[in-house]
Amino acid sequence: MKKCLKMLLAAAMLSTGLAAPSLHAADDPNPAAYAAALKGKRVLLVPMAMGFDLAQGWSAILKREVDAFGGVFETRDPNWSVEAGAQAITEAISSETKPDVLIVMSPDLNSYSKLMKKAQAEGIYVVLVDNPANFKADAYVGGDWTQLGRLEAEAVVKGCGPNSSKKIGLVQGDQVNATSLYQYAGIMEVLEKKYPDFKVVAKPDSNWDATTSRNVTTTMLQQTPDICGIIDFWDGDATGAAAAIREAGKQDSVFLVTTGGGEKTADCDKIADGTYGAVVMTELAQETHNMVAIIKYLLQSGQKPGTASPLIYTLMKATTKENLRPDSCWDLKALQADAEGK
């Protein structure tokens, strides 16, 4: 018995001895390569402003991820000023500590195109988020705004119902921003092709301002009292349209659809209390993790900036009271507390 055991032990030792090279191979070389590619790399986020839910959500998750791979994460806050944003990008390109990846939320199609090209020429990867631009970025991560418009149109048609007046009002953002123009195109496409009996009775601009949204919606509701649904192009100003509907006492007869980043107080709480009928939401966490994956890929790819420009569209869906779940939204306060705790 003892002999048997000894032999077994010897066999085992022998096999371990034989297996030794493969054990050394199990000392995975990949993390070292990963660390070499990513450690100390600088990621700079330049959104349109830091003071709104999307930017704060992105930056909280990005900071956590970039810190985790030993990189340096920074943000700049242009506070809705196109010039300040341009300056931030220019300064980043020419600074000693150049970023390796520049994440830009472009205010419109063209303003930053030249600057971003310059950044690529300096060897900086440029990732566009949320707002498309006329520029061959190393990736676009964000919404397909035409699709978003289509989803909004479907939501408002469903909210109105087949027996309604079939009259819809739009509160657009402006006439220059891609997010507003593409959204409009998507809405009109669905209404014209699928629901020709639904009519858009008015389509004023809010200029993304809640007070303006309130005033134009008030006028709209007075001009067409039997409107059954309104699409406001952003939850940042849809509070104004909601106020107008509330003040006209039409909460039950007008279905308000808007879009947003899916932050709890901005979207889900307002779906729950009936302010919004439906919100087409971007899955912010998913979107940010897409950015993280792209950053990690680009930094290891060894490719020259500007080589490819993939589109990484974020999944969007219309959330209503019916499909609202406790985890439909993300909580900015919790995310920030989390980031500060670490």
């Binding site: 402003a49 003071g51 709104f52 839910d53 704060q56 506070n79 809705w80 000023s81 402006d174 006439q175 220059v176 008015a202 389509k203 004023p204 601009d205 200029n207 993304w208 301002d209 809640a210 007070t211 303006t212 309130r214 005033n215 134009v216 008030t218 006028t219 709209m220 007075q222 001009q223 940042g236 100003d237 509070t239 104004g240 106020a243 509330r246 003040e247 107080t265 901005a266 900015l332 920030q336």
Partner: protein
Amino acid sequence: MDTKKGFDLFILNQERIVLAITAVIFVVASFGLPGFLTPDNLVAVVRSVSVLGILALGMAVVIIGRGIDLSAVAVMAMSVAWYLQMLNAGWSEAGALALVLSGVILIGLVNGFLVAYAEVPAIFVTLASASFVFGYVRSQIITADAVPVPNGHWLQSLGAVQFLDVPVEVFIFATFALIVFLFLRFTKWGRYVYFAGDNPVAARNAGMPVRPMLVLRYTISAILSFIAGLLTAASLHSMNTRVVNSTLFYDIVLVAVIGGIGLSGGKGGVRNVLIGAALTGILLNTMTIIDIPLIYQNLIKSTILLAAIIIDGVLNPRDEQTAQQGDI
């Protein structure tokens, strides 16, 4: 203006031209636009300019005294954002209100002090204080652009209050218009505003307390801005501080100047603000009904402002005295 009483019934001044334009638009819209001449729509017109009107009342008091307050919008947005932030953080109503109100008065006092005693031009003082107020509150106090009104707060109920189907904002605007009218017309310091605006040196030589009055005007402007901010929050159930970057300030000046309050000071009154507000309200309402895109709306608005300023320049030429002292 008031010195030419009696014979000027047919003389065209800016106020009357604007009043005539307003009347023409009103009549044309009444016939041409279905749904314009309804009680509901007219109430909505007045209401849409209530907040703007209150801000313009404060601006009018400052401009008549030959000044300008660029900090009005920043004070309006940031004071209320600060107030709401404190409420959301669990402050007591009285504590938050008292603190914010003293902050607002302090900004008014500092503005007035720097203009009156340090003799820095109003345009620089208030430009700086606007940036300071926005920057400080935005970076140190609030965490996001928009601060919501806490659920169940009185501001939420205030937004829904109506008397005789007319929203409370309209009455509040009317009340403040009356108060400012009474102040400017019937109080000693109110009358002094005109003298000081027309000729500060002469007013001072005549023994008027020109400097303390200046401080008072900027304080009035700051307090009216805070009230306008509260009304905005009452209606929208939140305060979005992005409004500081908007064209609201120019709209305020538009309302005041288009109604006939000269930027060189000493002229105009509450009536001019009301006329300016009426034109702005009717113009915006009709343009929205016709569905004119916003960029054209801005173009139309700015063209009318430019025309009003040119007319003002022609009808109220700069005299030697203004040219020497300069206006704002």
